[in-house]
């Protein structure tokens, strides 16, 4: 079933194919290309969607998934300051202890001031890192690289407020990017060596004789297998012993043999002198791992409507698709690029029931509005503040489970902020009292309606560009009536677009 902006589906949707057979090449039209761009990235302009459609399905998917062919924005360790944490040198810390003991108030005050200053600098740097990442998402020629980095950030959720080290967050972000579509297994081994994660889940405090179970538990429950999927409390306890000694120093992983419990452990019924890598590998060998990861990928890339709200045939088609993805992930030795490539080629992915079936995350909303409509970027700090207001503070997921996503993004409060964020991007006008920066750059939306001859055509082009679901006839009619009252083409396009971005449907992609 083909859809374009002006047809309306008035009957219940049929279920999508229950497997990952490819979309017939002829069906990869501009609307399909737009869908691919939005999902495998953050959306694109009409011209970009047309270009992808002309390339054909295979080349288009390769362009996005095998992004090594596309120019990378370079990242240098010098982009940010690695030395802000620890806040005081070891020497200064000793001085402070001495000064406190000797009641040398002047020295105490001086050192505490320095500590507070360093902390403030570190928080400022975290703000800069948020802006830096948002800018990458907006500008990258490899959108899937950034999108998967965001996926892994939500999956291996780590909160900057606990880590209290902006450079560690930057370093972790680069870890996710380096393995964005590579091997999940390699990524996991990187994660259990990542200073930010080790700090966040207290593994730096875990040693032989008094293991901390936090990291072992979350590895099984949230990172590799999913809650209750084929492990026991005993596996967690033994896994925690295996992970002892995995810690960091000066922003780098170190394995402290003296803190490691090298004794025999029984994990998943197998006995041996397992270390943390063994523990992670043994967990990843379970089929539940690929099912768990692919289920999450599916909700991130394909459809995040609650299963309970789906008709039975759509639900079973979804489960079948996830099973196929998981089998492919295992066949590909956990390489993610082939899994994503198969998904983005599948007829299932392009099925009408899966178009406009995702609720944009706050980051997706911001970045996609810029990339798809071509608005000015405005102020990156304001965009990052807006993401926070909408419930997605980068580097600060609500807890180790990450963001729940889907409908949990939406409530009466965040919906208004979403609408007003779009107004801000379109006009540069900061809503009073939001902590955002006004921006004077004018956005000429007339180009988006490119050569439309009448209000109807203007509205149709804008709807087609901005909405992921077919526009309802009521919307089309009302917007056209409204557009007819505006004679200046630029004003007409901009005010119509402002109304379209305020539509509930605009929150879908």
């Amino acid at each position: 079933m083909q859809s374009d902006a002006t047809t309306v589906v008035l009957h219940p949707m049929r279920a999508p194919p229950a497997d990952l057979r490819p979309l017939p090449a002829a069906q990869f039209d501009v609307a399909a290309a737009r869908h691919l761009l939005a999902r495998a990235g953050f959306g694109g302009t009409h011209a970009q969607a047309e270009a992808l459609a002309r390339m054909g399905l295979d080349a288009a998917v390769d362009l996005l998934v095998k992004y090594g062919t596309q120019p990378a924005k370079p990242i240098s360790p010098d982009d940010f300051d690695r030395t802000l944490v620890p806040l005081l040198t070891q020497e200064e810390r000793q001085q402070l202890q001495r000064a406190r003991r000797d009641r040398d108030e002047e020295a105490v005050e001086r050192l505490e001031r320095k500590e507070n200053q360093s902390r403030a600098n570190d928080r400022r740097q975290l703000g800069d890192i948020k802006k830096w990442w948002l800018a990458r998402m907006i500008e990258s020629a490899r959108p899937l690289e950034e999108k998967m980095t965001l996926f892994w950030h939500g999956h291996f959720a780590t909160g900057a407020r606990t880590v209290e080290d902006s450079w560690a967050m930057f370093q972790q972000n680069n870890l996710f990017r380096a393995h964005a579509t590579g091997s999940f297994a390699t990524l996991v081994l990187g994660v259990i060596r990542d200073p930010g994660m080790l700090k966040y889940l207290d593994n730096d405090d875990s040693r032989k004789g008094r293991p901390n179970e936090n990291l072992a538990r979350e590895l099984l429950e949230l990172f590799i297998l999913g809650e209750g999927s084929g492990y026991t409390e005993a596996d967690i306890k033994e896994g925690a012993r295996a992970l002892t000694g995995y810690t960091f120093r000066d922003e780098d992983f170190v394995f402290r043999q003296e803190n490691h419990d090298g004794g025999p452990k029984t994990i998943f019924g197998k006995r041996g002198n397992w270390n943390g890598d063994d523990f992670a590998r043994m967990a990843m060998e379970k089929p539940a791992c690929s099912e768990f990861i692919c289920g999450k990928l599916y909700r991130f890339f394909v459809n995040d409507a609650p299963e309970s709200d789906l008709p039975a045939d759509q639900r079973s088609a979804r489960r079948a698709a996830v099973r196929d993805l998981a089998a492919l992930m295992r066949n590909q030795q956990y390489e993610m690029a082939p899994v994503l490539g198969r998904l983005f080629r599948s007829a299932h992915f392009y099925d009408p029931s899966n178009r406009g079936a995702l609720i944009k995350s706050p980051v997706q909303l911001v970045v996609q509005t810029v990339r798809q409509l071509g608005t000015p970027v405005r102020n990156l700090g304001s965009l990052s503040a807006a993401c926070d207001l909408m419930g997605q503070d980068l580097f600060q997921p609500p807890n180790v489970k990450g963001w729940d996503g889907g409908r949990s993004w939406i409530n009466t409060s965040t919906l208004f902020v979403r609408q007003n964020l779009a107004i801000y991007l379109l006009t540069g006008r900061r809503p009073d009292m939001y902590d955002w920066e006004n921006d004077a750059e004018r956005f000429d939306a007339a180009g988006l309606a490119g050569g439309a001859r009448d209000p109807q055509e203007t509205v149709d082009r804008l709807l087609q560009l901005a909405l992921a679901v077919p526009a309802r006839p009521e919307r089309r009619r009302e917007l056209t009536e409204f557009a007819a009252t505006r004679s200046d083409p630029s004003d007409r396009a901009l005010s119509t677009l402002a109304l379209i971005t305020a539509l509930p449907e605009y929150q879908l992609t």
């Binding site: 409507a305 406009g356 079936a357 809503p431 009292m433 919307r475 009302e478 409204f482 009252t485 402002a498």
Partner: protein, 428 residues
């Protein structure tokens, strides 16, 4: 703005015609309350949203760690004066370090910070319940971690909020959009339930679409959003969910902005807390069926040069509370409302080298309203039997929650709090 007939008219239509498309064009919460009312006709449902005798809980969060010992002042304890040579306040009538405590209980030697004249007046009129030394085992001295513990009502600080769980339980999984309202930039985790999501707004004027104030564009916006779920949109689909939430948002926004338009019955001071409470009072006066309101005030992290800073905070806090209570009384709503004030922790017993205090543990909780057990409820923690220089808590904060949820809100406390806790009786 409140239309008593609107519900019954809608129910009539629902009962009589049961048009699916009509249900789809109702905001979620109107539909849910209509369902609730329908059930009430047959079965007996205790909670009738919109019925004016509904009880209301207002939470005032004092962020940053309010110095409990200079708020509820143990002026009669020598240790207090010894531990805080530059901060300890004098006994009533004998100013010291800038002030003399206001008498609460001479026998116990407890008073209020001299700037808490507002709370003193509430105390004298029998509207103030003071619970000293409220905390929890294994205290966490991180602002965030301790606030998470208070807000979730769980020792690990993880999961849903205690008031969110209350709303979940009260609504049987069909949360209504404005059951819980927070006045603030973001919704506090305390109000987040499994299904309950609070309304949160910093100012009523921001709680709306700001694309255009008036004219054709605004009219167009209103038309499209108020349509709710359009015909042909599948119920349960993402589109349907969004269309209905957008309608919820618009109706709630209308309601709140209409509520705050009226002049309050009393005058409020100019502080941010007073403004928030004024907004809450306006919503209560307007008959909104919100059961839980949440406001907050920051700035309590007084590590250095505490006296002035803390004195200003106490002035703002006490005066705002008094104005709020006077307003509720003038409305005739004071009997429906209990207000709880807490902070994530108190501060060290000993002052520090910078004329301030560092992060501590237990602190006082205040309950306000004519229906509270007036006076000091529970013992004051010892200033000598300390845990690493910090107070040992006397009353578990979950015991306070239990009183509020069980005796005031008539909710199943064990379900919400996951256990039973000892606490003095706090409500009359």
């Amino acid at each position: 703005m409140h239309e008593p007939n609107a519900y019954s008219r809608r129910i009539f239509i629902r009962q009589g015609v049961m048009l699916a498309s009509f249900a789809a064009s109702l905001p979620h919460f109107l539909q849910e309350s209509a369902v609730g009312m329908l059930a009430a006709d047959g079965a007996s449902v205790g909670n009738r949203p919109g019925v004016p005798d509904e009880r209301i809980l207002v939470v005032v969060q004092l962020s940053g760690g309010n110095d409990g010992l200079n708020c509820l002042v143990p002026y009669g304890d020598r240790e207090y004066h010894a531990a805080r040579p530059n901060l300890a306040l004098g006994e009533p009538g004998k100013p010291k370090n800038g002030g003399a405590a206001l008498e609460l209980d001479a026998a116990l030697g407890l008073g209020l910070h001299p700037n808490l004249t507002g709370l003193k007046e509430l105390h004298d009129s029998g509207n103030l319940c003071v619970v000293p030394g409220v905390g929890y085992p294994n205290p966490n001295r991180s602002h965030f971690a301790s606030m998470d513990i208070w807000q979730t009502g769980r020792p690990d600080g993880k999961g849903t909020g205690w008031l969110g769980r209350y709303v979940d339980a009260a609504c049987n999984g069909n949360p209504q959009a404005d059951m819980a309202v927070a006045v603030g930039r973001t919704a506090p985790p305390a109000l987040m339930g499994a299904t309950a999501k609070p309304v949160a707004f910093e100012s009523p004027e921001l709680f709306r679409w700001l694309g255009s104030d008036k004219g054709a564009m605004d009219a167009e916006y209103q038309r499209m959003v108020r349509a709710g779920a359009l015909p042909g949109v599948e119920p349960g689909s993402q589109e349907s969910f969004l269309m209905r939430t957008a309608l919820d948002a618009q109706v709630t926004s209308d309601r709140i902005r209409a509520a705050v338009r009226k002049q309050p019955l009393v005058s409020y001071p100019g502080s941010a807390l007073a403004k928030q409470l004024q907004t809450v009072a306006a919503m209560i006066r307007d008959g909104m069926k919100t059961r839980v309101y949440y406001v907050s005030m920051g700035g309590f992290d007084t590590h250095a040069n505490q006296p002035n800073q803390h004195g200003n905070l106490m002035r703002q806090f006490g005066d705002a509370m008094l104005a709020f209570q006077k307003d509720l009384k003038a409305q005739g709503n004071d009997g429906r409302v209990v207000t709880m004030c807490f902070s994530e922790f108190g501060r060290r017993v000993k002052q520090n080298a910078s004329n301030g205090t560092d992060h501590g543990t237990a602190g006082p909780v205040f309950l306000v309203g004519p229906r509270v057990q007036a006076g000091i409820r529970g013992k004051h923690p010892s200033l000598t039997d300390l845990d690493g220089g910090d107070l040992k808590f006397v009353t578990d904060f979950r015991g306070v929650y239990q009183e509020l949820l069980g005796k005031w809100m008539r909710a199943p406390t064990e379900k919400v709090l996951g256990g039973k806790y000892a606490a003095p009786a706090l409500l009359a």
